[in-house]
Each structure stands twice: as structure tokens, then as C-alpha cells.
């Protein structure tokens, strides 16, 4: 299965998916030291996004959340790529300053945690390699 969206930050990555069904807040919602989701309202609370390909519908919360994405990268706990339904200021800015490949306009409901995917952000493509 190949999904087509739009490039926000260029680059390529391949890895295991972690999918949040709910919008994600980075400030107060993801621990920049560990990459573990702490957002009380999140359906992937307690799970790590480090080294995975992170998919969620959209960002929410404080705009300072962009800096949390940057810190994740500096601490080696960032996701390899970010896939969202709808890009907004917080996550797009975070992915840019952290240099994490990012695509939007992807139907995230077609994705599920554990799948192996290849992201070609330059072409805005997400390819599902296996169901995991």
C-alpha cells in the first residue's frame, strides 16, 4: 500500500510505525529526555516514539512544543519521521528545526502501530512494507 501526501520537511526514513489516534501535544505530552509519551489524554501514553516513525492526526497545545521536538533530536530520542493528517505550526516548525522528515495530508486511519513503513518525504509518499 502506498499513501500519497505532501512534503513538509524533506528526507527519507524506514522503520516501525507508532500511531496516535488522537492529536498530540509535545509540551508536557512527550518527555524530551526519554521520548516517552506522557500526555494524559493520549492513547499511546507510556509508549516511546524514539527511533520510530510517528503518525498522528495533528499537533495541539503550546507552540513551545516545537522546541520539545528539537530536544528529542538532540537527546537521540526523536522519531525517524513524522506523518500527520494535517500539518500545523507547532509540529511543522519542530520538524524543521530538528531536521526530521515530515509529510502531511496522509489518511492516518489507514496506518497502525507495528507496521513497517518507508517514508519518502521529498515525494510526499508513505509506503507500507509489512503489517508488522
Amino acid at each position: 500500500m502506498k499513501l500519497r501526501g505532501r512534503k513538509i520537511v524533506g528526507g527519507k526514513a524506514e522503520g516501525e510505525l507508532i500511531v496516535s489516534r488522537k492529536p498530540l501535544s509535545f509540551l508536557g505530552g512527550v518527555d524530551p529526555e526519554t521520548g516517552i509519551v506522557t500526555d494524559a489524554e493520549s492513547d499511546i501514553r507510556g509508549e516511546s516514539i524514539a527511533g520510530k516513525i510517528l503518525a498522528f492526526p495533528r499537533g495541539k497545545g503550546s507552540t513551545v512544543g516545537s522546541y520539545v521536538i528539537y530536544a528529542l533530536r538532540k537527546n537521540g530520542k526523536a522519531p525517524k519521521a513524522i506523518i500527520v493528517g494535517e500539518a500545523e505550526t507547532i509540529v511543522a516548525t519542530g520538524a524543521i528545526i530538528a531536521g526530521i522528515p515530515m509529510v502531511d495530508e496522509i489518511d492516518v486511519s489507514k496506518l497502525k502501530s507495528g507496521m513497517r513503513v518507508r517514508v519518502d518525504a521529498d515525494r510526499g509518499e508513505v509506503e507500507v512494507l509489512s503489517d508488522g
Binding site: 513551545v64 516545537s66 522546541y67 530536544a71 524543521i96 528545526i97 502531511d104
Partner: protein, 386 residues
């Protein structure tokens, strides 16, 4: 999005890493929101100043960005800083130093328009701080989207912003008409109205009828409360704000605000004085007129307050209050004017448990932090306080 030759060169990294990253942010946001080009801005106002919000993550980014040579290219001012313990204040000072190193005026206030940064009608801006965004758009008629800290910093560095949203005429038109039938007289009535509208409307552009605000401060509070409970960045008031004549174009829905709506807001913030251990005035930061009013109310009260009164204001306004003698009066009655700081962005849980305030914005935030809250006009708070 169309980019000029120079913008392309910045994006390619010809002018260094910091400008390149800033340009990447603006271009990405422009693409996300469908802008056709970048437009020059007159000034920037940057949020993400308090260490409580920034944390180590933000501080690290600012350090790296300064080391990469980040410098602002337009006039830029800052949001309020936080107040905390010694360790916190050390980090807070470093944040301000880093912003200063970028060429930013480290005036830390949510009311830059009372001092260093006063835009004029039609100016394009990249401001964060939701209450200042509302003031600039609605009361002045300048044009800014509701930027976040990082996007306003990117704009300050490049000196431009993507042209979308409230920069364009068509998005400044009313999307809903609000008929105010309730009597709206004093400061706290405007707080309650803003609180109610933000909750009810979300992200509309309201056209409000039935208001005759006596003071700009009332409109400031209306917009701040609206922007706290909702994400309203622009409102029009018939006969009062500069763009109301052109605002009603499309046929839009009308909602009515009655006495009971405002009463409900006030009653939801009516915790007992027994649970209140500080009074907070100045959210957004107080004007000189508000401070003068507080000093006079304290004199009428005639005896010192048993719980502390904090009046938050910009350094510019506090300097005037100092030289005009209002600060001294306020201090005589157990009050203090706190310059360039904000309790909402300070780690004060544990220091206090309940606040009395005339601000709908403060009421909203402190309730969400788990504080007891009493919302009323400054007149009544100062008269009735223990």
C-alpha cells in the same frame, strides 16, 4: 509559493544556518496555509520567554540558534518572563540574555503597545501572545496571525511573514454577529463577556453590537479573555474599533448575550475570601490609568491589605508609576508592582492557593492550574479583601 531571488538564496543557506532555518519555517508555514508569497513585517513580538514554558528544550534551541548567528532584522520585543526560585531565575536570566544577543529588546511584557512597540493601522506584524495579537488586530487595526513563539522568532529573523489568514482583507470580515443585551459597564463585565464569547465561539471573527466601552483597557481585557478561552484573534465592535464599517459583508448568524450569560461566568469564579491568599491585577499588564485607579482605591480603603496585592505591568508603565508616586502608595497598603513578569507563566503553585482578580484571562488559567479563583471588579476586591 513564490520566492524572490534573495529569499531563494536564504533558503539555500547562502546567508548562514540561522537564516536558512528561519526561512524554512516561513516557507513551510506558507505552504501549509496556502500563502502565495512572503510580505515584510514592521515588528515582531515573541512568546516562549518564561523558563516555565521553554524548559531545557527551548533553552537549548536558543543557545544553538545564537551560536549559529541568529539576529533579528526587524524591531522585536518579548513576552513576560517568569518568577521562581533561585535556580529558575538563573535559567530565566540566561533566556533573556540569549534573546538580547539576537538583537531583541528584552522588554518582557504582554502589552508592548504601552511602550516600546506600538504599531499603526494596516501594519503587517508577526506577533505571538494571544492578548497582544487581539489588541493589535482589533483595537489598532494592524494585521497579524496568532503566531507561536518559534514562528514569530523566524519572522523576526527574516523580517517577513507568509501572507495568509488575517493579513488578507477577506479573512478580517465578521463570521458571526454578537448582540449584547446584557449591561456591560465595568472592567470585569468585559472580562466576563470575553470569557463567554471565547468559550462559545472558538475561532470566529465576531462583530459585536451594544457596547460603549469607556476605556481602551476594557477592550484590552475583552480581547484577552476571548483569546484565552477561545482562539479569537480579531473582533469588531460597532462604532468603536477601526475596521467595523467594512466588517459586515456576508450574511452571518447572530447570537445574543444576555445578563444570565455573564452572571454564569462571574458565579463560576466566586470562591470565598477564606480560600484566597493573593490579589492579582494586571493581566494583561496594567496601563498607567489602571495603576492610578488601584492607588486611589487603596487610599479610599484606608487600611493595608492582609493578603498581598500584586499589580503586574511593563517596565515602561512601572517607571511612570514610580515617578508619579503610585508605586509608593500601593506599597503602603501591602501591594507591589511587578515589572516585566507574569504569574500565569511562573511556577507559583505551592506559594499561593487562591487568587482574586479582575481578569477573565487570569481566572481561566489559574482555575486550570487548580487554584481557587474569585473574579470581581478591582473596586469591590480592594474594598472587600481581608
Amino acid at each position: 509559493m513564490f520566492l524572490t531571488k534573495e529569499e531563494e538564496l536564504i533558503l539555500a543557506g547562502e546567508y548562514g544556518y540561522a537564516l536558512q532555518k528561519a526561512m524554512e519555517i516561513l516557507v513551510a508555514l506558507g505552504e501549509v496555509y496556502g500563502a502565495e508569497r512572503l510580505i515584510p513585517i514592521k515588528s515582531a513580538q515573541i512568546a516562549g520567554v518564561s523558563y516555565k514554558n521553554l524548559g531545557e528544550a527551548g533553552l537549548e534551541f536558543l543557545r544553538d540558534f545564537v551560536n549559529a548567528g541568529a539576529r533579528v532584522s526587524v524591531y522585536t520585543t518579548l513576552n513576560p518572563a517568569g518568577i521562581g526560585d533561585e535556580e529558575f531565575m538563573e535559567k530565566q536570566r540566561e533566556v533573556l540574555e540569549l534573546y538580547r544577543a539576537m538583537g531583541i529588546e528584552t522588554t518582557s511584557t504582554c502589552t508592548p503597545y504601552y511602550g516600546a512597540n506600538l504599531p499603526k493601522f494596516g501594519d503587517h506584524l508577526a506577533w505571538s501572545e494571544s492578548s497582544a495579537v487581539s489588541f493589535a488586530n482589533s483595537i489598532i487595526g494592524a494585521r497579524t496571525n496568532r503566531e507561536g513563539g518559534p514562528s514569530s522568532l523566524a519572522s523576526a529573523i527574516v523580517g517577513k511573514t507568509p501572507e495568509y489568514g488575517l493579513h488578507l482583507d477577506e479573512n478580517r470580515k465578521a463570521t458571526v454577529k454578537v448582540k449584547v443585551e446584557a449591561k456591560v459597564r465595568g472592567f470585569v463585565d468585559y472580562s466576563a463577556l470575553g470569557y463567554h464569547l471565547g468559550k462559545t465561539l472558538g475561532s470566529d471573527v465576531p462583530y459585536i453590537t451594544g457596547l460603549k466601552p469607556e476605556s481602551t483597557d476594557y477592550l484590552k481585557e475583552l480581547g484577552a479573555s476571548m483569546a484565552a478561552t477561545g482562539s479569537i484573534a480579531l473582533y469588531h465592535v460597532e462604532g468603536e474599533t477601526p475596521e467595523y464599517r467594512e466588517a459586515l459583508v456576508d450574511k452571518v448568524e447572530t447570537i445574543t448575550v444576555e445578563e444570565a450569560d455573564l452572571r454564569a461566568v462571574r458565579e463560576s469564579f466566586s470562591d470565598d475570601w477564606g480560600e484566597i491568599d493573593m490579589i492579582l491585577i494586571g493581566c494583561p499588564h496594567a496601563s498607567l490609568m489602571e495603576i492610578k485607579g488601584i492607588a486611589e482605591l487603596l487610599k479610599m480603603r484606608g487600611r493595608p491589605l492582609r493578603i498581598p496585592l500584586f499589580v503586574t505591568a511593563s517596565r515602561a508603565v512601572k517607571a511612570l508609576a514610580d515617578s508619579l508616586g503610585y508605586t509608593e502608595t500601593i506599597e503602603r497598603y501591602n501591594g507591589r508592582i511587578i515589572a516585566d513578569s507574569c504569574f500565569v507563566v511562573s511556577p507559583i503553585k505551592g506559594w499561593y492557593r487562591g487568587i482574586a482578580t479582575n481578569s477573565g484571562k487570569s481566572a481561566f488559567y489559574f482555575r486550570s492550574f487548580g487554584f481557587s479563583v474569585r473574579l470581581d471588579d478591582a473596586e469591590r476586591l480592594i474594598k472587600e479583601a481581608p
